[in-house]
């Protein structure tokens, strides 16, 4: 879902940088306040793993492929959507500057879509489902799937505003492809990884929101 530079006029690309910047700064502040010495290896391992998995495009039929984004997975493990924003920002910087995957001028839009939108939608869907006593695997699956789908729809709207996509066909095509990519590439992989970590290192997955009901509701 990496938008290339040519898909968006510079003036609009800059607007998405302005929109993404506060989230990037908040994600740095999250690292300052929440990331302790013992969590640094987890952050580094997740960042490397997300970069690698994004290189693995899975065929979904219709002559199309897609790969995992991973913001929801990172957010669920580290307990904040800002962790997802942080990891996706690092990954997108390397992808854009080193591999020409996703443009540089449109990187703000890519960070907004894949880091912020998929991270926030994915994480808070997960939290709401967990609070309704849905299993961790099912919550992670639905959260990650929905996060990817909503971020694809947001991309379609941005490309409509950019004059690149027509609105309804854009939403339909992006929605259809990412419904499937989100199911296989995002939902299933996220659920499998979360289940594996839950079995081997249950202490690693942040679930403080389950015990701090009042605080969570207020936030």
């Amino acid at each position: 879902m990496h938008i290339p530079d040519s898909f968006m006029p510079l003036s609009q690309a800059l607007i998405y940088w302005v929109a993404a910047l506060p989230f990037i700064l908040m994600s740095v502040r999250w690292a300052r306040n929440e990331l302790d010495e013992t969590k640094v290896p987890i952050l580094a391992a997740l960042a490397a793993g997300i970069f690698a998995i994004q290189a693995l495009n899975i065929p979904i039929g219709m002559g199309t492929s897609g790969h995992m984004v991973g913001a929801a997975l990172v957010a669920i493990i580290l307990g904040s959507p800002l962790a997802g924003v942080l990891v996706l920002t690092l990954v997108l910087l390397v992808q854009g500057f080193v591999f020409a995957d996703g443009g540089i001028t449109v990187m703000g839009a890519n960070i907004l879509n894949m880091g912020v939108i998929s991270g926030f939608v994915g994480y808070y869907t997960f939290v709401v489902l967990r609070k309704s006593r849905i299993s961790i695997a099912a919550s992670a699956f639905v959260g990650a799937w929905l996060g990817l789908l909503v971020s694809a729809l947001a991309t379609a709207v941005e490309l409509y505003l950019a004059g690149t996509f027509p609105l309804v066909p854009g939403l339909t095509a992006m929605g259809l492809y990412h419904l499937i990519i989100g199911f296989v590439g995002e939902g299933i992989i996220t659920a499998v990884v979360i289940t594996a970590i839950q079995k081997s290192r249950p202490d690693l997955i942040d679930n403080s929101f389950l015990s701090s009901e009042a605080k969570g509701a207020a936030a």
């Binding site: 879902m1 290339p4 530079d5 040519s6 898909f7 740095v28 690292a31 300052r32 990331l35 013992t38 969590k39 640094v40 290896p41 987890i42 952050l43 580094a44 391992a45 997740l46 960042a47 490397a48 793993g49 997300i50 970069f51 690698a52 290189a55 693995l56 495009n57 899975i58 065929p59 979904i60 219709m62 002559g63 199309t64 492929s65 897609g66 790969h67 690092l90 990954v91 910087l93 390397v94 992808q95 854009g96 500057f97 080193v98 591999f99 020409a100 443009g103 540089i104 694809a152 991309t155 379609a156 690149t164 996509f165 854009g170 095509a173 992006m174 492809y177 290192r201 202490d203 690693l204």
Partner: protein
Amino acid sequence: MSDTMSGNQNMKFLYAGIAIALLISVLAPFLASSDPDGLESAAMDIVDEAKLTAMEEVAPAVESPMPDYAIEGMGKTGEVAAIVAGTLIVLVIGFAFGKLTKK
């Protein structure tokens, strides 16, 4: 769990993570589908062909050393090297960033 204990456990997680990431990096050039991704497919479905060709001919704003996860003239070996390099770069940046910003 004490900090030292979870610290050691987390280093194990890091090593396991690096091993899995490198395994995926090495396999990706052979396993990954070369079909266009969701965004590219959508563009091909709904954007006028001439307009799409014109957009694709626009050079990226910044030249990249390894465009499309490949090294020119090195085939699959170059692709493996490119993705492994990318994984290691992200690993180092992630680790260094974490060390510098942690509370």
